[in-house]
Symmetry: C2
């Protein structure tokens, strides 16, 4: 899909344009000429996909449709933060069209679970799965679902979102299909995305004072081999032989540069390489080597014969430990509030999630922002209510909400 | 590298901005606010890479640098043509920095040869390798090299280009390195790119009246299996067994839909699938199947036992035939002109390349555009001069040039 959206196309779905128009970059000139119609640099591509759907969807046989694209999008943010909030970012945006509302809802929740598993499995980042309030949902969506991560400093990060649009855009763009019963019906739409913001999430979840700590699944180098006393006979050869062996089952680098071993240790700690393998003359003599984990600096003396088993095990142990540590951080930073004073006190003096009941009214959401500077992060799936009344107004509560300060 | 280039950055290298400023899209507003400095949507990224180089290159140890990115760029073309010339296009742009002029020139020519081999090998498209005249070179480059393809209608297509910038941008952006001899020196720069225009080139080189003809290397489906009389017992099972076998060594699809075999034949011809495999009850009985080549419709009756050998051979034969046919087309559409009348006559009445000698002056290049509507495509490598005097002005000639009309 193209990079530019003509203003008239962006304007087709009312809620969508209201949400996005204030934060798009406008192209107004081509070469030295003023354009007759402004073009916005895409902040997201629903309108472009809808124009396409309207051209290609005719019959139930054309459904479902599933598209995915990786592209850069632009949102004219007032304040930016490296990796976490930038005006341009690379993302993956998936778009689907379905015959029925049920199928669209199923797809929306399936993608949420795929994102959640990616975060918790590959990235070792525990996430809350839940639904966004109307205030926080995607402009034009009927419902937005989110996976929310908690950074080590207690700030929340929206990790990825999935949206069910119902037939709202389909009505605005006149996207209909002829069903089996010979009736013309509107299609039901979803979209979902994650961005390179995830990189910021990894840094802020797992990193420490020595630098990055990368989950093995996404570490460009999983094991770095550092020869010790490498000018002694046989050391480099042994290190190179190990590199060749390890390259068959993991991403490995041998650093044979002139820098000192100590310098290299720091270098690869900073870069977050999950495992360091040290090998020197004494190790070679004993048929062993030293493995050092990036996360807890644990040192393992390992027989060289066992590396094919020990390295994958250790990488998985590290991943599980990253997850556990992050989960522990979330547990330690989650508090319940059943009255407004407690909520304000927690918001002022703690950093993390506050669980509190909510009546469902925008007014209360806005008041909590005003008095406690927190926003609703999500209405979580599968958690029991902690009361019957809204923490803010005292009226009957509709749902439990995680509140917090977010990046 | 980012999508936007601030106007002040684009302005840093004089020739570059003169070449590109007339054809860029300008972002002038962010949300509802006028920007204090206009941003152009990148038409190419030399200025962005140079700003980066200036920050990271200090010493000869930092060189060479090599970057590649795939991204969309925008050039505000007056007239567009699907695939061949669009305002936004996806391309690959490579950028390098070197310590010496020699190394930069070597890289420039190495990449040209890599592109040429890709066109002639994988895509079956013969190309001329040569240098662009100063009029046709990339804005800001010292020298631009090109691979030029000829479409079946006799129009030329610039397939890919490589540029040697010398130290021009390095001086404009102050990119220096401390050499081994302790002297500060300017770096030498190259860049090179090919774009999705190649897709247009494939269509216009190999396509015929029945639709696409795709070279096997880039065909999403290399072999389509079409069952004949597929509701007879055993046909679908045999077709599926072949699909499973073929999937081990090629990209194969079995079309078991309800459409008739004839409809399917046309469908996959239109889509350019290189090989069609037909299998019906009689074939199964005889342990054979039918292979039909997309390019010449040649029908081969093949024992099923031989498919592992015959299919790769046939795909390669098809590729070679595509190349030969395109080369033959170029031979038949290349003429020599040693005087202006002949050149004008050829330009008016034939469609293809005109080889003619040139004095090296811009005036003659502009005159040929005026009187014959041709542009210089390239000064080819390794071809003998066909005269001593310029076809236009009669003064001593400096080089042989291929002239033509281009997409």
């Amino acid at each position: 899909m193209p990079m530019f959206i003509p203003e008239s196309l962006l304007n087709k779905e009312k809620e969508h344009v209201e949400g996005f128009a204030p934060e798009v970059a406008w192209v107004t000139m081509g070469g030295s000429e003023q354009l007759t119609e402004r073009l916005c640099v895409r902040p997201t591509s629903e309108t472009l996909f809808c124009e396409h759907y309207a051209n290609i969807i005719r019959s139930y046989r054309d459904l479902p449709k599933l598209y995915n694209q990786w592209c850069s999008v632009v949102r004219w943010e007032k304040t930016t933060r490296p990796f976490l909030r930038s005006r341009e970012f690379l993302w993956q945006e998936g778009h689907t069209m379905h015959a029925t509302a049920e199928e669209a809802q199923e797809e929306t929740l399936r993608m949420l679970e795929i994102y959640a598993n990616f975060f918790e499995g590959d990235l070792g980042m525990p996430v809350l799965r839940g639904r966004k309030t109307d205030k926080e949902k995607f402009a034009g969506a009927e419902a937005t679902y989110t996976v929310e991560a908690l950074m080590h400093d207690g700030k929340a990060l929206q990790g990825g979102t999935t949206h069910n649009f119902g037939d709202g855009f389909a009505r605005a763009f006149d996207i209909k299909y002829l069903d089996r019963d010979n009736q013309l019906k509107y299609c039901h739409q979803t979209s979902w995305g994650v961005s390179t913001r995830i990189i910021g999430g990894i840094i802020m979840t797992h990193g420490d004072d020595s630098g990055l700590v990368l989950p093995p699944a996404v570490a460009p180098i999983q094991v770095v081999i550092i020869p010790v006393q490498m000018h002694k006979e046989g050391v480099l050869e042994a290190a190179e032989a190990l590199r060749a062996r390890l390259s068959k089952f993991c991403r490995v680098k041998l650093d044979a540069s002139d820098n000192s071993p100590g310098w290299k240790f720091s270098e690869y700690e900073m870069k977050g390489v999950p495992l360091r393998l040290e090998i020197g003359p004494r190790d070679i003599e004993n048929g062993q080597c030293v493995l050092v984990r990036r996360d807890n600096r644990e040192k393992l003396f390992v027989s060289q014969d066992d590396l094919e088993a020990v390295i994958p095990e250790t990488l998985e142990a590290l991943r599980a430990a990253l997850y556990e540590k992050a989960l522990e951080n979330r547990r330690n930073r989650t508090w319940d509030a059943t009255d407004l004073d407690t909520l304000v006190d927690l918001a002022n003096n703690r950093s993390g999630y506050i669980r509190a009941m909510w009546c469902g009214e925008l007014a209360c959401e806005e008041k909590l922002k005003e008095v406690a500077d927190v926003t609703s992060r999500c209405m979580p799936f599968g958690e029991e209510p902690i009361g019957d009344t809204c923490v803010c107004c005292g009226k009957p509560a509709k749902s439990l909400v995680y509140w917090g300060k977010a990046y």
